[in-house]
Symmetry: C2
Subunit: 268 residues, 2 copies
């Protein structure tokens, strides 16, 4: 790409505050970019920064023709209006796909969003690659976050699954889950989905990343939302945590950034 258009793809990442998990995620993303030749520019703001400072940073990246993707690491500190910030990210650089116009165009069949959020896109990348057909299948999404649950439900519907979205107000979530061919979980509660929730032969995608005490008693480790040891006995395929959906999600960020620069230079 550098030799073709004289430019490297460039991703701008914006990080506010000191959340350890956010720092870890940003570190992983920057490293992945570096490995594939995507340049990065990072802007780090203090926990107590003004909203106007953050808006200025995002606007600056919007206007910079050498920046092809902008990622604002979520969640933001409480005093900042996340909606306002996300709305400001240029649609054409919204590589996270969280802008409501991108979400709206993802929801409406026949429309094409500029970007599909990375975790759901990773889901859809994984399934056919492992021979899992989506069309006509019953899918259950447990959790309805705007980052994972919502866009995954919209994307699976686009691929003609029959999608049911479960949440905390649902009684007996195990019943409907046990009828699903594809189960996607993202609730942030370790091991909430047990083996007896899963239909024999179902495919399980665990999007959870929970920090839990290490079984050895020393320090912490990362656990998913699904009780892997139980579910692996009934599922035909299951993503582990860590090492399952996470790396695919990062790959989709790289893919979205590449798509963005290609679009900017009329290469798609």
């Amino acid at each position: 790409m550098k030799s073709g258009i004289g430019k490297f793809p460039r991703l701008a990442v914006v990080l506010v505050g000191d959340r350890r998990d956010s720092h870890t995620f940003i570190h992983i993303k920057l490293k992945a970019c570096d490995q594939v030749g995507i340049e990065t520019v990072a802007s780090q703001l203090p926990e107590n920064c003004d909203e106007s400072e953050l808006l200025d940073v995002v606007s600056g990246f919007n206007e910079d023709p050498d920046v092809h993707g902008i990622l604002v690491q979520l969640p933001l500190p409480q005093h900042l209006d996340e909606e306002k910030i996300i709305n400001v990210v240029s649609l054409e650089k919204d590589v996270d796909g969280f802008h409501p116009l991108n979400i709206g165009n993802l929801a409406i069949r026949g429309r094409k969003p500029f970007f599909v959020p990375c975790a759901p896109k990773g889901c859809i990348e994984l399934l056919p690659r492992h021979g899992v057909e989506i069309k006509g299948k019953r899918a259950v999404i447990i959790g309805r976050s705007k980052i994972v649950g919502l866009p995954t439900s919209l994307l699976l519907q686009r691929h003609h699954a029959t999608v049911s979205v479960l949440h905390a107000y649902m009684k007996n979530p195990e019943h409907i889950t046990s009828e699903a061919d594809i189960v996607v979980v993202d609730v942030g509660v370790p091991n909430i989905v047990c083996g007896n929730w899963i239909k024999k032969g179902a495919v399980v995608i665990d999007m959870g990343t929970n920090q839990v005490k290490d079984p050895s008693g020393h320090g912490f480790c990362v656990s998913g939302d699904v009780c892997f040891e139980e579910a692996v006995k009934v599922a035909s395929a299951i993503t582990p945590v860590p090492g399952g959906v996470g790396p695919v999600t990062i790959s989709m960020l790289l893919s979205n950034t590449l798509d963005s620069v290609k679009r900017a230079f009329g290469m798609v």
Copy 2:
């Protein structure tokens, strides 16, 4: 309102072509506006009009401060790019709620679209008025049109139902339907949903409007998507067709237009 702000609410309706059903719908909408004191301005374009002509009409209404709501009657003739037309309607006047930014903001929890599409809004109006709780209930939406199925699924999720969206690729739709507390149907096939699809005591909302031969053998009548005679025996409540959701949908158009003028004059 006339005495308060010196203006009547005004709705602009745009009709292209000669579809009989579209003419009927527009007639009903204009009459309803007249009955409640909403002024209307109608623009009718020929079936073979240019896209630019239609865009000019919509843009004119966008810029007219005396127009508070714009409704482009769908479907448009095939040669017109419906997406492009809907995208041009001013967000603040999009009383049909079909603009992708309004749909995106409807999908994302915690966000507030300017307008919610009229038929789904009517659904949510009907349910609590008849003592039907939505929160925690299982809802099945049969059909996933962008006008009814999609926004109804998003709106019911906002009200904390567990929503499953069914479509033509689903095998055995009667099974999952028979587990639902609330069944919303909009597929455009007369009597496709039989009584044995419905759980005893479920609530059935029939959004279908199909022209079918009159049983008397003379002329045509309007039928829903649900076999009313069968479903009424098992449902705890069911909307008839005609006379069920239709009038409520029209009321929601009036309500959206009123909301629009109130917002324009800072009255909300």
